[in-house]
Amino acid sequence: MVQVMSDPQLGMPPVAVEPPQILEPPLAIEVRGLRKIYGNKAAVDGVDLAVPSGAFFGFLGPNGAGKTTTIKMLMGLATPTAGTIRILGLPVPEESLKIKQMIGLVPDESLLFDHLTGAEFLEFVGRLYSLPRPMAQERTRELLSLFELDGNVRKLIGEYSKGMRKRVAMAAALIHRPKLFLMDEPFEGVDAVGARLMKDLLLDQVRQGATIFLTSHVLEVVERLCHRIAIIHDGRLVANGTLDELRSGSENLEDLFVRLVGADRITRDSLDWL
């Protein structure tokens, strides 16, 4: 299903593409008419999303566009003002506990408890996801080794660098082998080697049938990894489809992104005195 929506603010003409008549995989995320209003401002305004199972889905948008609010609603951290969400076929919030059991999260704000060590945190998370303690400990050891966090086992998370915190958050998201990953800026602050490791791991998870929904400002990463992308601007989706379907001519994702959400800002924001 390909949709390129119109954006009256940008003067974009609406483009409608007929959905292909083939049997589509079940949806990992299905969002209909999602709205979130704070006061009199709509942070998310009527978003429809369909993320097929097994997809690597990139969710993009400029700062303040509504990415984090959307992903927070998917994670259950924020309540939608209107609209419906189904995750892995189950409705939110009715089946929240079942859904949470099947998803792995890397949010923008840290879920990490500063006064635990990385090993203690991973074991804690594993046990919350119903792993028996010995299995949680075994997986913790393996994940710490994989993410090269086993150097100083007594170091508290509060003493970790930003990149280390992201790595331990990623390890925590993996410990229970989720079917769906919701990730908000997972590569932010991670060094090149760590980022490469994380990307390889995520691609491997997708190959095994998991679905990944991520937001990122690093467009090269999204361009290289994601099968499908959606772009949100001022709370509304302005694009949704595969990169090939969305770009015109030889433009890359950055060109597409700037064309859809930033062209007017670039000319408007130039300052005389600078």
Partner: protein, 530 residues
């Protein structure tokens, strides 16, 4: 971005309590004004001991209250092109916030000196260098203590020294319980010596009096210069201080024989033997987390040391001839006092230390009810460890700890816990606020905390009071324990209702909760967070 309106519940109460508090000192200031404006024949005899008290209050009370007042967060400001001298000047002026009471008293003193017809017009000016002397010393002390408190191990030693310093006068009195007569001599001597111009308070008083002007002026100038140098030195060290490095875990992992579990690890895992996951995992996490949080360690340590220090003289003064209600229930009294101290962390704001990480409880597959129960169990766990330590210290001090007294203290603590946990769950979900677990000393007192302490504690203690009233009225232990049993039943009902209400609140208002807990301080700390 925060779209939510600021919650202002409780601020009016904070204003009211502060107004009352400062009115008391305004009244004291007026008294000082009256005394000094009408004093005849040398004001220095009153002024120098008064200034000594001002000095002691200004420098010691913030330490004893584990509160530093407002201060600049240098980590956030050091990156900007602000001259160090400007930052230092602001920091010095902020030291007024650590003892506004004394500022008021000094104002009264200054006006009194100005109105005294026997003194020259310059008399009140003598207080200005004394004021700056206090500000500089307070700045230096604050920086020094904040740095020491950030260091592992040193922090614990420092807390012990504070407690001992607070205990010293009490212990001196206890040494001769019949009278404090032997103390009067040294106290009088100290007050007499306070008038000597070699001390800053003596020099300022003499200067105001126009007595020994040259010596006093030199003395005061030297003290002021010394205090300034001390403050600048400590400020410069704080500017370059890396708190994170100081508090870092530096010990390498100790090798343990394969298959063996260290003693502390066994303690952490203790709850998991009694509770299945996820409850067991959550309680274990709370125990680990709190044990390592400097703020909690401070409160916990104060519970069984400071509690003893404060109550011991009152308890022992009752004597064996005519035991008072307090002295005959010393174990219960100290236990309840320690619960009051622990309340800040274990009951009233149980998500405070988690700060933004509290959102984890909403994304992990665990009902929020389980999370609250886990936090409550962890609170009880520490309350009973605290109580055990108090009993142990009482036995060490050869106080008559009998099984009956222990049983009574335990029963009262359990019953009271139901009420405290019930109210605590409500306040934790209705008024969550972030607390930095790494800061041993708080930088300000939130008005909501005052409200909780003043309103909810008496309400929680009321059923316990009824049990004691029943014992007194019927002169019967059965009446006491019967009433306590009724209290327990009531407590369980209230706890369950409050738990459901808290769960509902946390579920419906999770965004506001997470938002409130994720708030950070600005460049000036101590103006909002508890």
């Amino acid at each position: 971005m925060n779209f939510y309106p600021r919650v202002r519940g409780g601020s009016w109460f904070g204003v009211l309590t502060q107004l009352l508090w400062y009115s008391l000192f305004l009244f004291a200031s007026w008294g000082v004004y009256l005394l000094l404006s009408t004093a005849k024949g040398g004001v220095s005899q009153y002024l120098s001991p008064g200034l000594l008290l001002v000095f002691l209050y200004w420098q010691l009370v913030p330490i004893l209250l584990i509160s530093t007042g407002a201060s600049l967060d240098l980590r956030k400001l050091v990156a900007y092109p602000i001259p160090t001298g400007d930052l230092f000047s602001i920091e010095v002026l902020l030291r007024v916030t650590a003892a506004i009471e004394m500022f008021l008293v000094l104002m009264g003193a200054g006006l009194g000196l100005a109105r005294n017809p026997q003194l020259g017009f310059w008399a009140p000016l003598a207080l200005i260098p004394f004021l700056f002397f206090n500000l500089y010393v307070a700045t230096g002390m604050r920086d020094l203590i904040a740095r020491l408190m950030a260091r592992r191990r040193i922090r614990e030693v420092l807390i012990f020294l504070f407690v001992m310093a607070a205990a010293a006068p009490q212990l001196l009195i206890l040494r001769d319980r019949s009278s404090g007569a032997h103390l009067r001599g040294p106290i009088k001597q100290a007050l007499d010596q306070a008038n000597l111009p070699i001390w800053p308070w003596g020099a300022a008083a003499r200067l105001a009096d126009g007595d020994a002007v040259l010596v006093s002026l030199i003395s005061l100038t030297l003290w002021l210069a010394g205090a300034y140098a001390f403050a600048r030195w400590q400020f410069a060290r704080s500017l370059n201080f890396d708190a994170q490095a100081a508090s870092a875990t530096i010990e390498p992992a100790r090798p343990t024989p394969p298959g063996s579990i260290p003693l502390l690890e066994r303690l952490y895992r203790l709850p998991s033997y009694f509770f299945a996951d996820p409850l067991g995992a959550l309680v274990e996490k709370e125990v680990r987390f709190l044990t390592r949080a400097p703020r909690f360690r401070m409160v916990f340590f104060m519970g069984f040391t400071f509690g003893m220090v404060i109550w011991l003289p009152i308890l022992l003064r009752g004597g064996s001839h005519s035991p008072s209600a307090i002295s005959s229930n010393f174990l219960t009294v100290i236990t309840l006092y320690s619960m009051l101290l622990l309340g800040e962390v274990c009951y009233w704001n149980s998500f405070g230390f988690d700060r933004s990480a509290a959102q984890a409880y909403f994304v992990f597959p665990v009902p929020i009810r389980t999370v609250l129960i886990a936090k409550n169990i962890a609170g009880l766990f520490f309350t009973f460890i605290e109580m055990t330590l108090i009993t142990f210290v009482c036995i060490l001090l050869r106080m008559p700890v009998t099984p009956q007294r222990f049983l009574e203290a335990t029963a009262v603590a359990v019953v009271l816990s139901f009420f405290l946990l019930a109210f605590g769950n409500l306040t934790s979900t209705h008024n969550p606020r972030p607390v930095d677990p790494a800061k041993s000393m708080r930088s300000g007192v939130a008005s909501r905390t005052q409200m909780v302490t003043i309103l909810i504690y008496p309400l929680s203690f009321l059923p316990i009071g009824l049990a004691y009233a029943a014992r007194y009225a019927f002169e019967s232990e059965a009446a006491f324990y019967g009433m306590l049993l009724l209290d327990a039943a009531l407590g369980v009902i209230i706890y369950r209702i409050a738990l459901e209400s808290s769960v509902s609140r946390a579920t419906l208002q999770r965004e506001q909760m997470i938002d409130a807990l994720a708030k950070n301080e600005g460049p000036m700390s101590g103006l909002g967070l508890g």
